[in-house]
């Protein structure tokens, strides 16, 4: 039986990674608005993903406004692919 990555197998983090896999860079405000989370909640999920090495964080300033941008790392992308393969294996096993 294929093992599911616990970092990814959490509904909100899965959605974050899927969002980031569709674009090259997304900032904190975009993720916040699209996912409909609170700032604290999103921050904690992003920290976990960053610790796992799945997302890369770039901090910058737009004028005087700080901006935090995220992108999926190569490891994050391959882990996400692996996760969906595992899900499909489980499903085919159940069928």
């Amino acid at each position: 039986m294929a093992e599911l990555d616990p970092h990814i197998h959490q509904p909100t983090r899965l959605r974050i990674l899927m969002l980031l896999s569709g674009v090259d860079v997304a900032d904190f405000a975009f993720l916040l608005n699209t996912l409909g989370l609170t700032k604290g909640n999103l921050s904690s999920h992003m920290s976990r993903l960053e610790e796992a090495g799945y997302v890369e964080v770039t901090k910058s300033f737009n004028g005087k406004v700080p901006n935090t941008a995220y992108s999926l790392t190569r490891e994050g992308r391959s882990s996400l692919d692996e996760y969906w393969r595992a899900i499909d294996d489980i499903r085919h096993g159940a069928d």
């Binding site: 569709g22 674009v23 860079v25 997304a26 608005n33 699209t34 996912l35 409909g36 989370l37």
Partner: protein
């Protein structure tokens, strides 16, 4: 049990669609292009208006007015050059940030397609060669001026298509409407359909379709971007946020 497996599969299917709609949304954030077109059109109007005023004043022997409008035209040209090199990017960036402030930023292929810019530079050089070459044809009387737009379509349409193909990962597919409509306009013009501006404003034969179809294409892309964002938000709404909303409504009840 079967029903629960089906609903899990359906939820998976929805999550798997997120990257597609995120990409579509990011590709169709075209309001900065609308802003560029509007600024370009405004500059064209100022250049054209001042040029016409100068010419008219000179013909009517109003020397002071002619000299004054020529000075303003020179000043505007200098300012425009400065603006194109320094101010333009800054203003477009600030407009973009303001327009998309409520949504945040999402970029797809920030440098994709323009990493190898040799082809683009070559295409731009070809375009730069063709514009004065065709203008020369008209002014020398080698080509009737009524064919200005159809002749320009021979190089503008391939150029815009090439640009679209080169930037296909970054840009909206709706941008192909631009050369498509410009080409159709040229065909209609040659076929005798009255789509041409008459009088002394021959430059409008090229300018109006160029800017007009550009605006149509970018606005179509923008509208599609709104649809993509709505779809994306519906797909990506986190279960935690839905639980939070349900909790709040239960609390109110």
């Amino acid at each position: 049990m079967k029903r629960s497996a089906d609903s899990v599969q359906e939820a998976d299917g929805r999550v798997r669609e997120i990257p597609k709609w995120a990409r579509r949304y990011a590709q169709n954030r075209t309001l900065p292009v609308v802003a560029m077109l509007v600024i370009g059109a405004a500059a064209f109007c100022v250049f054209g208006g001042l040029g016409l005023l100068t010419g008219w004043a000179y013909v009517e022997d109003k020397r002071v007015l002619a000299a004054a409008s020529m000075l303003v035209l020179c000043g505007f040209t200098v300012w425009w050059v400065w603006f194109c090199f320094i101010g333009f990017v800054r203003i477009i960036r600030s407009i973009t940030e303001r327009l998309y402030e409520g949504e945040g930023g999402a970029v797809v292929g920030a440098c994709a397609g323009i990493e190898d810019s040799r082809g683009l530079v070559l295409a731009a050089l070809v375009l730069i060669f063709f514009v004065p070459a065709t203008l020369g044809l008209f002014f020398l009387g080698l080509c009737p001026i009524r064919l200005m737009q159809p002749v320009s379509a021979l190089y503008v349409v391939p150029f815009l298509c090439y640009l679209g193909l080169k930037m296909r990962r970054v840009g909206s597919p709706f941008m192909f409407l631009w050369p498509g409509l410009y080409g159709i306009h040229a065909i209609l013009d040659v076929a005798g359909v009255p789509v041409r501006f008459w009088g002394d404003f021959h430059a409008l034969d090229i300018f109006a379709p160029m800017v007009g179809y550009g605006l149509i294409a970018t606005l179509a892309a923008h509208i599609y971007g709104r649809v993509a964002l709505r779809r994306l938000r519906a797909l990506a709404a986190s279960p935690e946020s839905l639980q939070g909303a349900a909790g709040q409504s239960n609390g109110r009840a």
